[in-house]
């Protein structure tokens, strides 16, 4: 004959065992699997690199009031200079190994009739085919330039332009 105390211990043991089973399930279940939908976390890092590179290019030498390299590049459509400068800033790492970030840059400006036009500025050695997983970074520049498709005198002077760069690794 089993007494009441023994029954109580048995019930407690079974209940505790069940709770531990559930605990083990929760612990095993709490790992998170990296899926393609989570790739925006890597995109974020690429975005930081690209933004920083553009910010560095938009700072005048020695913080003087002179034009920044990016302003000069946009004003003179200096594609090779952009390619060299951006490629080096984005890809140089500590040590001798280089990173392998590819890019495609365009300049956006407003036409006199109020529509927006994009002109290609530069691209890296591997061309953009459209299947890459690219992120977009932008930088506003204030340039003194007469953009194409406007010959009127009033088109001279300062204009706002938006430099857009698509970045991807391959």
């Amino acid at each position: 004959m089993v007494n009441t105390g023994g029954q109580l211990y048995t019930i407690e043991g079974i209940a505790a065992g069940l709770i531990l089973l559930v605990t083990a399930f929760i612990v095993v279940n709490s790992t998170s699997v990296y899926t393609p939908g989570d790739s925006h976390l890597n995109d974020m890092q690429l975005e930081v690199i690209g933004t920083d590179a553009l910010v560095m290019m938009d700072i005048a030498p020695n913080s003087t009031a002179a034009k920044s390299p990016l302003q000069t590049i946009v004003e003179t459509d200096d594609s090779p200079a952009f390619t060299t400068l951006f490629r080096d800033i984005a890809n140089f790492k500590t040590g001798s190994l280089r990173d392998d970030i590819q890019f495609l840059a365009t300049v956006n400006y407003v036409r006199p009739d109020g529509t927006i036009n994009s002109t290609p500025l530069s691209s890296s050695s591997r061309s953009f085919t459209g299947t890459e997983h690219a992120v977009r970074v932008t930088k506003w520049v204030l340039v003194e330039k007469k953009f194409p498709d406007c010959s009127a005198l009033s088109c001279q002077g300062k204009h706002a332009a938006l430099v857009e760069v698509l970045l991807w690794r391959d």
């Binding site: 531990l20 605990t23 709490s30 932008t138 506003w140 204009h159 706002a160």
Partner: protein, 110 residues
């Protein structure tokens, strides 16, 4: 006693379970926020405020209209920046809205 111990283990497991979820939601919130867009617009708005209209080809009005057009067309965001000169200072009410994030700032010239 066994019951109490297993319950405390259960709660610790729930804490571990939540910690990964918390990290992921925070990272997502950070990456969704258009920090760089807002910084860029703010930067160019302040630069444009220091231009002037009187001098030929300084184009302050043109530049400011271009900023509005470009940010709507290329960055999907409405920006507006009414400027109020008060004495020797300039105040700009910078407004940014991309449908998800709204940012307002009163900038004062130094």
């Amino acid at each position: 006693m066994g019951f109490i111990v297993s319950f405390s283990l259960f709660f610790l497991a729930v804490v571990i379970n939540q910690s990964t979820v918390v990290g992921q939601t925070t990272a997502e919130a950070v990456s969704e926020f258009p920090k760089n867009d807002i910084r860029g617009v703010r930067d160019i708005v302040i630069k444009s405020a220091l231009l002037d209209d009187n001098d030929p080809f300084k184009n302050k009005t043109t530049v400011q209209n271009e900023i509005r057009t470009l940010s709507l067309g290329r960055q999907n965001s409405m920006v507006d920046f009414p400027q109020v000169p008060v004495g020797e200072f300039t105040y700009i009410n910078i407004h940014y809205n991309n449908g998800v994030v709204e940012y307002n700032e009163l900038w004062t010239s130094p």
